[in-house]
Symmetry: C2
Subunit: 329 residues, 2 copies
Amino acid sequence: MPNVPCFGANAIGLPPLIKLLFMSVIVVGTMAFDAIETPFGKSDKIIGGSATYVAYAASHFIQPVQQVSIVGYDFPNEEINALKALGVEVEGVEIVPDKKSFFWSGKYHLDMNTRDTLVTDLNVLADFKPVVPESYQGAEFLMLGNLVPAIQKSVINQLKHRPKLIVLDTMNFWIESALDDLKEVLQLVDVLLVNDGEARELTGEYSIVRAAKKILAMGPKYLIIKKGEHGALLFHANSVFFAPALPLEDVFDPTGAGDSFAGGFIGHLARTKDISFENMKTAIIVGSVMASFCVEKFGTQRLKEITREDIDARLDAFVQLVNFDIALV
Amino acid sequence: MPNVPCFGANAIGLPPLIKLLFMSVIVVGTMAFDAIETPFGKSDKIIGGSATYVAYAASHFIQPVQQVSIVGYDFPNEEINALKALGVEVEGVEIVPDKKSFFWSGKYHLDMNTRDTLVTDLNVLADFKPVVPESYQGAEFLMLGNLVPAIQKSVINQLKHRPKLIVLDTMNFWIESALDDLKEVLQLVDVLLVNDGEARELTGEYSIVRAAKKILAMGPKYLIIKKGEHGALLFHANSVFFAPALPLEDVFDPTGAGDSFAGGFIGHLARTKDISFENMKTAIIVGSVMASFCVEKFGTQRLKEITREDIDARLDAFVQLVNFDIALV
């Protein structure tokens, strides 16, 4: 599919029934500012936030992406317009006129797998009570970025038509501070996205395989365990699939890699309208490809500049990386 | 190929020219005793050593395996006979009548990726000057287990006919204490096997991709970087291939996993008589399968009891783990 801007069904005023054909994706998460230090450099205050990365990654595959987020008066109009030009709808993005946008600052260690948080200014995020606009109703895919579990649940409850697929991201902070709420929302979703440390913390199991079994018993039918530079595992019933991360010469800035992965994953599923286990394997490869672009430059820069040809070339590299002649075994 | 004992060309007294058809593998390394503690248990003094693990893994695929090692008076005859019954030749195993075998004892941490050495008794290993028996001349494959680099070189120099493929294993101790000798022997081998930490230490590059480029410039045409539970990478010229480790519910004892990997790798190559990059990919999958068995019980126990059917079933599981429909991308 060529990566041409498309404003989705909404832009041309179609009724909701017709809109269903477009397989829209609702993305809930933060749109924010980040300031990042890595061993290779230091960024100014740049655009970040989970929903921003998901939208930039997913919009290469599907339009419309229907954003639900909150920003302050300081969030640049040009950024909103850049997203709109890629087929991202922003009716669900609340703009608070008298507060600042969420701000996070962090510093990565030499291994690029661990980081220290330097600053967390919640600002508008402290008041975030997402409201799903009427025009988003009927979306077939829902991506719930890492947020308070009760808020994630409130979004699901606002949808009149249950999406075909609900994907949820979370983090250790909620496992530690809101476990009961998290367990409740886990019963409502189809796919959980966590990293290996979070899977261990959520279950008390060191073995990833044992942890996966326990999580699949908590509600989600599919579980993706992200292992950063060591790839990602997809678990479903008794099946497991593994996709490596592309070995890169340099990882410049890991911020947003997980969200770019999520955006590629749900973008591919929505584009192909196929939520089978087989197609989820491919979606994980697409997610890994988007993450591999994300880390090549600061912030969302690389996700903005890549073309469909860049993506295809990297998908090819991925296939080469893992493909072997089964007949030879 | 059924896993039936086969005593190789030597057992039936064939001349060297005919023996070449059998694609024998020379394995140089330790045969020793280990005592192992893991979070799950503690072993008695059990059979270990790099050459032992390589031989048990490789003999599932190829006979004869021609062992070059050194043991003391205490090394059990039954163990030698068990190896012989699997088609392992032991003419190159020196038995020192008045000294004990090499002994290593270690304790694994909870993550099973790191360990403390508790005891290292070199015993016979201090005098190890391997002599390649005349009957081994003409072998097409040479596996040099982790040893003093100068000793590894002396084995290569003893061979009248350069093997089709020389694989070398080493470790951080030699990178730190015998770098010049190591660099010399690297120029004589085809494949280097190291782990990610050793690749970084050998090159001073944190990025695995940059480290691989530097190592390929040191001599080996192929480089395998083992990442334990995170799989293994194969580098050759500008190509790279990745194979994951099989996600296991429990890792009982990681001792010998790297040597079992090496044994499966070289065993598959020798069996198929094909040292192309394509076939090396398959050999890495076979190596990962043998490592996945090794860690399921203490010592060499699991490698001894598995059948060809067990190996085939696990190869299938491996294919399922990484296989996706390329056409869907």
